[in-house]
């Protein structure tokens, strides 16, 4: 196997071996601490333009299968693992992971000290990174190449990941509600979770306008997860304000949460290294209960965690906080049907502790029926 280098923005270089597709790749280096779920991670559009470092040392043991894909393709910009599996062992497996990565031209690197790399990113923050083959440019030149690439701060990526055209995921069983989901990089698990609760989900492109939403006559609007810097999302923020004004219930997840936060007037900021894993404790401030949740975010909302705040749309509050570092993890309006969480109740990968939030969305749609909405 050819030698390969993982080169960080700050000049640190890790040597490993080429894996998966050969070539060069660039992105933001982030680490993911889940011990299961590499396939869901790879196909999660929120990882678009990121080079993902898996902290679990053995990756690929169970191969890949069609059912566990979270979207139509692999999104990560590069994949960093310590020991890729050279065998696949699982009754649901259809293909070898490396073969899949090669087919989708995803550049990887293996055999590096992923723990040292993770510690470095933890201490210095997520940063730009490049993976290089053992080619004849110097280490200095590699670092220069990395520094030429765009940083994640300020990145506008929705157009890369969103669907071009609206599509409908039918309700399972009796249809109870219609929801317009704005696709900012939606994972397949979300429409599945909604559909399982009798919701017909119309997945709209990121640049859908309010009229296009109105046409569907939705009982609620869902704002999906997705990649990029929320501060670039002015258009969608405006769209959300229209939805809020129309009093249509809103549920936002992850990127969608940040956008709802911005629509309510809050700013977002970039975390040092983000939260990426499936073991994150979040406190539900109302019940005092802790849920173990899946996270994948590099940005967060600045909102007052302990007091009721006022917005143009009435009073609101922070409903959930991350217990590891106090980050705002959930918001809600008290006088309208809008709430959002920074983490992933749809899991995939990760625990199902927060699945109740989908039921909460349903209660909101019941509490604020369409008849009252200004459509």
């Amino acid at each position: 196997m050819a030698k390969a280098f993982l080169v960080l923005d700050d000049g640190r270089i890790f040597e490993g071996k080429s894996w998966a597709a050969t070539g060069r790749t660039f992105g933001e280096a982030v680490f993911q601490t889940g011990m299961t779920g590499y396939q869901e991670t790879l196909t999660d559009p929120s990882y678009h333009r990121q080079v993902v470092v898996m902290t679990a040392p053995h990756i690929g043991n169970t191969g890949v299968n069609t059912l566990d894909n979270e979207s139509r393709k692999i999104w990560v910009a590069g994949f960093v693992v310590r020991n890729p599996s050279t065998i696949t062992s699982n009754w649901r497996s259809e293909k070898d992971l490396e073969a899949e990565l090669i087919e989708q031209s995803i550049v990887g690197i293996q055999g590096i000290d992923t723990r040292a790399l993770t510690r470095h990113l933890r201490d210095r923050g997520a940063m730009r990174v490049g993976i290089f083959l053992d080619v004849d440019i110097t280490r200095e030149e590699m670092v220069i190449e990395v520094r030429k690439t765009q940083a994640m701060s300020g990145a506008y990526l929705s157009e890369d990941v969103s669907t071009d055209q609206t599509y409908v995921v039918p309700a399972i069983g009796k249809k109870r509600f219609t929801v317009a989901a704005i696709d900012l990089g939606i994972k397949g698990a979300t429409p599945r979770a909604l559909a399982a609760r009798g919701i017909e989900v119309h997945v709209l492109p990121f640049n859908a306008n309010f009229k296009e939403i109105q046409v569907i006559r939705p009982d609620g609007v869902f704002l999906s997860n997705g990649p990029g810097d929320p501060s670039t999302m002015n258009d969608v923020v405006e769209l959300v304000r229209e939805v809020l004004a129309a009093n249509i219930p809103i549920f936002g997840i992850c990127f969608g949460h940040q956008i709802l936060g911005r629509a309510l007037g809050f700013e977002t900021y970039k975390l040092q290294f983000g939260h990426r894993g499936i073991n994150q404790p979040v406190l539900d401030k109302k019940t005092g209960k802790v849920e173990i949740t899946a996270h994948n975010h590099g940005f967060a909302i600045k909102a007052p965690p302990d007091a009721i705040f006022n917005t143009v749309y009435g009073a609101g509050e922070v409903t959930h906080v991350g217990l590891n570092d106090g980050v705002v993890e959930g918001l809600q309006l008290l006088e309208r049907g809008a709430f959002s969480v920074q983490y992933h109740p749809e899991a995939a990968a990760g625990p199902h502790d927060a699945a109740y939030l989908f039921d909460r969305f349903i209660s909101l749609m019941e509490k604020y029926p369409r008849a009252q909405a200004v459509i």
Binding site: T36, T55, N90, N279, V290
Partner: protein
């Protein structure tokens, strides 16, 4: 929220003696519980009969009762101490059963105290299979199809429905005791019959067989606010059919997708909620069909378990500590994660390394035991290893077992490997199945062949293939480059293995490796895959880029632990290591522990300043020394506290330039090498039993003729009493040599004079180079010839005179001087006639150190550690660590009794193994009784070890001819105590001629009488006997004695096999008949 302030006094129930299935992991959990409760200002009352535990050290509780863990004794403690709450979920099945007993007896209600952690209803929901099944069904899970049975008839009816093979599981037993798989009616009759007996409720479960399915275990914790976290997932490499305790296991689970893992997680959470474990930990086992993923819930333990200890060590999440905090009212989010210091305990640990646990067995000690691994746990210990890949962790785990058979071999010559035979053999799981797999694959078997034979997941088999592939590369004559060597080390190959592959020696590889600058780095177990900074230096090695060992300025002392528990080397040695660490930390040193046993207190991350979870081999220890030397000053390594394992490394470490603290390797050699030790004794005019070394059978007979029968005979190349036998005549000697040895000039046989009916004495002492401190002089209750580890003993010695005591002290001093001890020494003496014989000396902490420390209140191991670092006994006296003057004095009379694992083993024909003591040690653990009189103390020790002695009833007596005279007095005493005596022919006649009436019963070999008179075995089986006295003749398995003893063991009838034990039982029963045995805490004894 926060803590329940109404709880001010808590009774913690320990787990008693170390037995198979319940080992020192419960000392680890109990010790954590005591620490947590005391830190909260709660008065801690502890009951545990096991003196070798850290938790029973007086400083860990306010009132420590070293008393039997029975509802009767615990009631006395409750009456005296009036605890607000009882914590029984950290003491294994023993504590849980005691708690249920207290509930049933109404004791909890009577004294208005409550169980915390899990209540009786939750315990029953978790453990009663029928109720549990209902729960699984209710939450939408599946159980294996099964039928509850209470009689053999029901069992036969059940198997008609389920078909063979069926699994049999008795209710309310621990470690899978009494369970097994029946393939036909014979095996069903045998396993299910035993299962009905072992179950306290005479209940067994018959279950459809899911042998060969993938097996998983999840460790779950819940708090009173219903927050639930999964601490760890564990995957068994050995699929269903082998008890988890006997399986090689790996954490985290490696062959499940997230979708499948989350199903197990969801089921676990629903189960803990539905069972209603209010707070604390439990573990839930699952089987997963490898073909379609169908999940079966196997069982749950509503308490902290062996797996919890493993999971704690594997993740850095201290389950027992947190379970205790939850039990007194905290919630998970209120508890800080010790390791990160900033994040809460309400999270799920994530691992960036692989953990492998491998079991250690003791089949060589039970020659006739069935070696097949089943659903009854048979291993006596385990080793854990951590690596950054599965092969690395596996290879480290296998070398941690300290068995050469466990280490993968890569012979160049494949002609000796019969692949077909191996593929056949590995169908039946045994101790070295994984080695069979590796050998077969080395010789060409492919993954599918092996999978067909074993059902071990192909992913694991592929990893073995990769190991073999690397070995093949290493065997090539190419130069050993850095890259080449590094890739081997990354796979976990030891220097020894690489040397063997390349036909050089270990030292050459090490030199070459060091020349290339290739050392391991040390990573940290931090619960969070490096997401947060770790503040606890809990390290493991790996061959990677970055090391996390922090520099330090304080001088370090490295303490070597004792590795996996095994018979002869268990918790007692861990106790000494932990004590050394505590005392040296107090004395201002930085303590560094190296050990690989996940069950222990020594491998708790807050026992020492730094913990290296590493195999105890020369290579692994040298690398830690190297890493720590780079970090700061290292004073040296302590090898005398962890038993034979570290002692065996001392010479190699010294040769590599490492300072050995305390007794030097030369001195160790002087004591261990027979010839050299003989000279020491001769110089000091001390006597040892005569012996000789025979290279042929003729020579052996000559030596025996010279020194006189009986003789103790053994092969010279095994240690620890293995293969020893006492023989009384030429015929037996010849037969032993033919049967048990492979006598040649290279493999000589040792023939020792055996001191028949001698009193055996065990001494633990400290020596600092000039002064001797005699810690304790223990007298064995069984006479010389029974391994000291299996013999009961009493402190103070009861029958020796003041002048004998004096000469013992003088001889101890002479030996300590002659050998050159600095620290602890243990010497075994025998007194026969008027002569004091020296049997052996071990210049290290012995198995009895904790017992002596408890009985006298003197912390011998702590003192030894300090002496190793240059303190004198007089320094320690003035510091208060040792008494101001004089030797150790026993407070009260303490009896130590050994606990034997007879009921765990069966022969391949399904019958029990012989329950007879001999010169080979077979006990797994010990208990202590302490009281004012020998009788009371002995009675307590027997109750703790075997269950109550009868106060009245029928005693069966069968004495070997050599024991008849010494057995007369106790037989008479039993008659006077009101017991009915029964005996077989010879013994009955002997008693009659001495004026004692004993009812004659038929021997087993005689069969039932013409009028249906029962044989003794039938009588035992029908419950007509309350106590069995049966002394064996030599070691030959005389069918009658064996049948009697095994029947007694299987029926849990107390069985005494020596006349000394018989006499002691008289005293014990007298004490019982006199009435109440009182309880009092060790703290009160030590004030006396």
């Amino acid at each position: 929220m926060a803590r329940d302030e109404s709880i001010k006094r808590v009774l913690v129930i320990g787990s008693g003696p170390i037995v198979i299935g319940q080992a020192c992991e419960f000392d680890y959990s109990g010790t954590q519980a005591c620490r947590v409760l005391r830190a909260e200002g709660i008065r801690v009352i502890l009951v545990n009969s096991n003196p070798a535990t850290i938790m029973t050290d007086p400083e860990f509780a306010d009132a420590t009762y070293i008393e039997p863990i029975t509802p009767e004794f615990i009631e006395k403690i409750i009456a005296k101490e009036r605890p607000d709450a009882v914590l029984a979920t950290l003491g294994g099945q023993t504590a849980l059963n005691a708690a249920i007993g207290l509930h049933k007896a109404g004791t909890l209600e009577k004294y208005k105290t409550k169980l915390i952690g899990a209540d009786v209803e939750a315990i029953e929901r978790g453990e009663n299979r029928e109720i549990f099944r209902g729960i699984v069904e209710k939450i939408g899970g599946q159980s294996a199809k099964s039928i509850i049975c209470h009689t053999m008839d029901e069992i036969f009816a059940g198997v008609e429905i389920l078909n063979y093979p069926v699994v049999i599981r008795p209710s309310f037993t621990m470690g899978g005791l009494g369970s097994g798989i029946a393939f036909d009616e014979d095996s069903l009759r045998q396993i299910a019959g035993a299962g009905l007996r072992h179950s306290p409720t005479s209940e067994v479960l018959l279950e459809e067989s899911i042998i060969g399915w993938k097996e998983y275990e999840l460790e779950v914790m819940r708090d009173k606010s219903d927050n639930v976290v999964i601490v760890c997932s564990i995957e068994n490499i050995d699929p269903m059919g082998v008890h988890t305790g006997d399986s090689i296991t790996v954490a985290p689970a490696l062959t499940l997708t997230d979708v499948e893992f989350q199903k197990l997680r969801d089921l676990s959470i629903d189960i803990i909620r539905e069972v209603g474990v209010a707070t604390g930990g439990c573990n839930i086992q699952f089987a997963v069909n490898p073909d379609d993923g169908r999940i079966i819930v196997i069982e749950m333990n509503p308490r902290v378990s062996r797996s919890s200890a493993l999971a704690s060590k594997a993740t850095g999440f201290p389950i027992a500590k947190i379970a205790t905090k939850l039990a007194i009212g905290y919630t998970l989010d209120e508890i800080k994660n010790d390791i990160t210091q900033v994040t809460p305990a309400s999270f799920e640990p994530t691992l960036d390394y692989i953990v492998v646990k491998a079991p250690r067995f003791a089949f060589e000690k039970f020659a006739d035991a069935d070696p097949r691994l089943t659903t009854t746990m048979k291993s006596v210990g385990e080793a854990m290893a951590i690596g950054r890949s599965f092969p690395e962790a596996l290879m480290k785990a296998l070398r941690s077992l300290e068995r050469k058979e466990a280490i993968f071999k890569f012979p160049a010559d494949l002609s000796g490997i019969d692949v077909a035979a191996l593929l056949l053999a590995m169908r039946i799981p045994t101790e070295y199945r994984l080695q069979q797999v590796q050998q077969a694959m080395w010789a060409g078997a492919n993954i599918e062949d092996v999978f067909a034979s074993t059902k071990i997941d192909r992913w694991f088999l592929h990893q073995l293939d990769l190991i073999n592939l690397r070995a093949r590369e290493l065997a090539q004559p190419a130069e050993l480059t850095l890259e080449y060597l590094k890739s081997a080390k990354e796979m976990g190959f030891s220097d020894v293995q690489i040397a063997q592959l390349r036909g050089v020696n270990e030292d050459d590889i090490r030199k070459a490796r060091h020349h290339l600058g290739l050392h391991p780095v040390y990573k940290t177990v931090d619960t969070c895959a490096a997401e947060f900074e770790a503040f606890t230096p809990y390290h493991y090695s790996s061959y990677e880029e970055e090391t996390e060992v922090r520099p330090r300025t304080k001088p370090a002392v490295i303490i070597l632990g004792s590795g996996p528990n095994r018979i002869g080397q268990g918790i007692e040695f861990d106790y000494s290591c932990v004590h050394a660490s505590f005392t040296l930390r107090d004395a201002g040193y930085e303590t560094v522990m190296i050990n690989c046993n996940p069950e222990t207190v020594s491998t708790d991350y807050d026992t020492s300043d730094r913990l290296y979870f590493e195999p105890l081999t020369l290579e692994d220890v040298l690398e830690v020394v190297h890493a720590e030397t780079l970090a700061g000053p290292v004073l040296g390594v302590i090898t005398q506290l962890g038993g034979q394992t570290p002692l065996g490394l001392a010479a190699g470490l010294k040769a590599a330039g490492v300072t050995i603290l305390g007794t030097s390797p030369d001195a160790i050699n002087l004591a261990e090498e027979r010839g050299a030790f003989g000279k020491v004794l001769a110089e000091q005019s001390l006597t040892a039993p005569e012996f000789g070394m025979a290279a042929s059978q003729m020579e052996a007979l000559d030596i025996a003729a010279r020194i006189g029968y009986p003789v103790l005979v053994r092969p010279s190349f095994v240690l620890g009493g293995r293969g020893m036998e006492i023989v009384y005549d030429n015929t037996a000697l010849s037969s032993f040599i033919a049967r048990a040895t492979d006598i040649t000039p290279d493999h000589p046989v040792l023939v020792d004079r055996f001191l028949d009916s001698a009193i055996e004495i065990d001494v633990d002492a400290l020596y600092d180079g000039s002064e001797l401190f005699l810690g304790g002089v223990m007298e064995h209750i069984e006479e010389a010839g029974i391994h000291s580890g299996d013999s009961a003993c009493v402190l103070p010695a009861m029958t020796i005179t003041a002048s004998q005591q004096k000469s013992i002290r003088a001889a101890t001093l002479k030996i300590a001087q002659g050998v050159g001890v600095l620290g602890l020494i243990n010497i075994q003496f025998a007194i026969a006639g008027d002569v004091l014989y020296v049997l052996e000396a071990n210049p290290r902490a012995s198995r009895t150190v904790p017992f002596v420390s408890k009985a006298t209140g003197v912390p011998l191991a702590k003192a030894a550690a300090r002496i190793s670092l240059g303190s004198s006994i007089s320094d320690l006296r003035s510091e208060g660590l040792l008494p101001q003057s004089g030797d150790g004095i026993a407070k009260g009379i303490s009896v130590k009794e050994a606990v034997l694992p007879w009921n765990r083993f069966r022969r391949t024909d399904g019958r029990g193994v012989d329950a007879v003591l001999g010169p080979e040690m077979r006990s797994t653990g010990e208990v202590m009784g302490i009281a004012q009189t020998f009788g009371e103390s002995y009675a307590k020790s027997q109750i703790s070890a075997f269950g109550p002695l009868p106060k009245s009833g029928t005693v069966f007596i069968s004495l070997a001819d050599k024991d008849k005279s010494s057995g007369l007095a106790p037989s008479r005493a039993f008659a006077e105590l009101g017991f009915k005596l029964i005996a077989t022919g010879g013994t009955a006649d002997f008693l009659a001629t001495n004026g004692l009436l004993a009812h004659k019963v038929r021997k087993n070999s005689e069969g039932s009488g013409p009028m249906g008179e029962k044989t003794i075995v039938e009588l035992l089986n029908t419950g007509g006997v309350d106590l069995v006295i049966n002394t064996p003749v030599g070691r030959g398995t005389r069918a009658d004695g064996w049948a009697i003893r095994t029947a007694a063991v299987q029926r849990s009838i107390p069985c005494i096999t020596t006349t000394a034990g018989f006499s002691a039982a008289v005293e014990g029963i007298k004490a019982l008949q006199r009435g109440e045995l009182s309880v009092s805490p060790i703290q009160e004894w030590l004030k006396k």
